[in-house]
């Protein structure tokens, strides 16, 4: 009996991992519920079920075995599974410790959504709370949301060389209002380079979704 239960647990954990790798959101949700029914600790289902899945997806992406659609679908599955398990943590009076809160958006004048959304999905999948402000976001809004959520990270995206300088404007506004030291600023987008990020006073630059997660972890000393 004991053995059977343990076998069931490890089977469900493995299936959770597979559901993330396969990008099966519905399955991730029902497996998360199954895990709870089996009496698994929700935190354990996250750490030993979901997380190994998303780590494997990241590995395959970097090895050019997986590409963006697989990556995004895995992130979606991760998010759906996580929602079920987090609900259980809250219901038990607990609180899932998010790694950090990240406020994310594409800067004013720029309506390019995809790159930033991918980064958001990957950050969520890796245990961050992501506040995605969408596109065409003015400096005031970035600042207000950072304050409101006590965010540790601000991520900005720009896809046009003409909107890229607005990122510098936001950083200057952060400094002017005394918020600059409270938040790490990460920038990205096709025309953005590491040199440019440094020049405008950002803390980090991410070249793609996976490196974005790595950079944020690094800045927060989580690497």
């Amino acid at each position: 009996m004991q053995l059977g239960t343990t076998g069931g647990e490890s089977a469900v954990l493995r299936a959770l991992t597979e559901s993330v790798i396969g990008g099966e959101a519905e399955q991730a949700m029902s497996l998360a519920r199954q895990a709870l029914e089996l009496g698994l600790e929700p935190m354990r289902a996250i750490d030993e079920g979901l997380i190994p899945g998303i780590m494997e997806v990241g590995r395959r992406f970097e090895a050019h075995e997986f590409f963006l659609p697989e990556l995004i679908m895995a992130a979606e599955a991760m998010k759906k599974g996580m929602a079920v398990l987090e609900e259980a943590i809250v219901a038990r009076g607990g609180k899932r410790e998010a790694l950090a809160t990240v406020v994310l958006g594409t800067v004013k004048g720029d309506i390019h959504d995809i790159g930033k959304s991918i980064v958001g999905a990957m950050l969520t999948a890796h245990g961050f709370v992501v506040v995605d402000l969408g596109v065409d976001v003015p400096a005031d809004r970035f600042l207000a949301e950072v304050e409101k959520h006590g965010a540790q990270v601000l991520g900005m995206s720009a896809l046009l060389p003409t909107t890229m300088p607005y990122m510098q404007h936001v950083i200057e506004e952060l400094t002017r209002r005394g918020l600059r030291d409270r938040v790490k600023v990460v920038v990205g987008g096709a025309p953005v380079t590491p040199a440019y990020a440094e020049r405008i006073g950002a803390d980090g630059y991410g070249d793609d979704a996976i490196s974005g997660v790595r950079v944020v972890r690094g800045l927060l000393g989580l690497a």
């Binding site: 659609p69 679908m73 959504d113 959304s117 991918i118 380079t193 070249d207």
Partner: protein
Amino acid sequence: MPRRGLCGGLLKFIREDDLEQIHFAVIEVLSEVGVLMEYRPALELLADHGAEVDWAHSIVRIPEGLLQKALLTAPSRFTLYGKTPEWDVKVDLERVYTIGGSCALSVLDLDGVHRPAVRKDLVDLTRLLEAMPNLDIMHQIVVPSDVPELGYELINFATCYSISKRNYYSQAQSAESVRDQVRMAAVFQGSEETVRRRPTFTEVVCMVSPLKHEKQNSEVLMESARWGIPLYIEVDALCGATTPAPIAGTLVESGANVLAGVVLAQLVNPGVPCIYSIASGIMDMSNGAYSGAAPETTLIHAATAQVAHRFGLPYQGGTGIDAKLPDAQAGYERALQVLTNILAGTNFVHLSYGMMEQMLLASYEQVVIDEEIIGAAYRIARGFEVNDYTLSVDLLARIGPLGGHFLRERETREFYRKDRWLPTITDRNTWDTWQAAGGKDMRQAANERARAILAREEPWAVTPEQAEEIERIAQDGVARAQARRQQLQ
């Protein structure tokens, strides 16, 4: 991505009424001007079947009726057999395949050294070619300098045939050489009878322009036909020098020259597969050189597809490039040549891997680069499907205009993998990412890939014992060829 048997032929350079004129000009030259054939038994056979022979000049004029009869027996569809069924090549007038090779005397090796090719290069280049997914037919890419000139094709046969699972594109210097090759294939295939029924190799015979069939070529053609070995009947015209300067005139000469060979082959063995083939080029009037990559050469090759198909014959075109290094010139020459030929429906794009410097030089790196170019060209030629599913109206309705995207949709994931060509050594990163990965140009990336492939010890297509037996037959054939020459002297 499966692509074997992709259909070409979207691109037409000859209008229907112009094609009609070329078609009848070919028939007129064949029946009125005629072709010189040095080989007496060939002339006799043709004369027996109603061709008009000028015995004093060894010129044969083939009447239209005899040509039409040959075209009725020459198949438009057949199979070129690989050593395993997955490498069988189903030939018709639409599907497009590639052939490696051919016969370079020098190599540009992986240390960047230009030197005479040796047998080790033939082994390594054949192993490298064997690892190229888009290659369909294997051919000798170099003629090694450390192999005797007389009978070299037997040594090359032994090497390439033993390594490669693909149908082998061979050539022969004599009828006896063809028989030796049948014997070598029989070592793998079990018996000469099996070779006759399902030949795993083909022979190319190269005609001289203008309008000349040398003795050796007719002899090889007739012996191959007797064995049922499929034939690439090839003209290597030099437009402006050995054929008329106008492209139309070159097409007419090549047609008459090739078809004389087709008629001869069909008389020997009705039904033997014949592939209408050219490896022609223009003469560069500044230095007299053959230019395989000139745009006019590519036009000749693409247009000939229509002429060949009008006669109901599968077609081999394509040729080497003129660049000496795997550089920008090599890239543009190969890309224009390969893409145009594939789009034109050239059934066998020949000389499509690694051949440079007017076919004198084979480059290891260029082999790998050409695979990339061919992969991209095939992707363009494959086009795209239009149907209810691909029109995606339902999907568009589901996502709507409210700022969603398609990356997370199951349809996207299912579709893109079969639809997209995945590059191997092409870099699409930004400057910084590319720099961080070593900042390699395509030649360096190709070099690394070639080294990685050669470092793997893939088993040969035949067993070591079979390879040994095949080698013994080749060496024996070379010795006999040498002895024969000494007798003649």
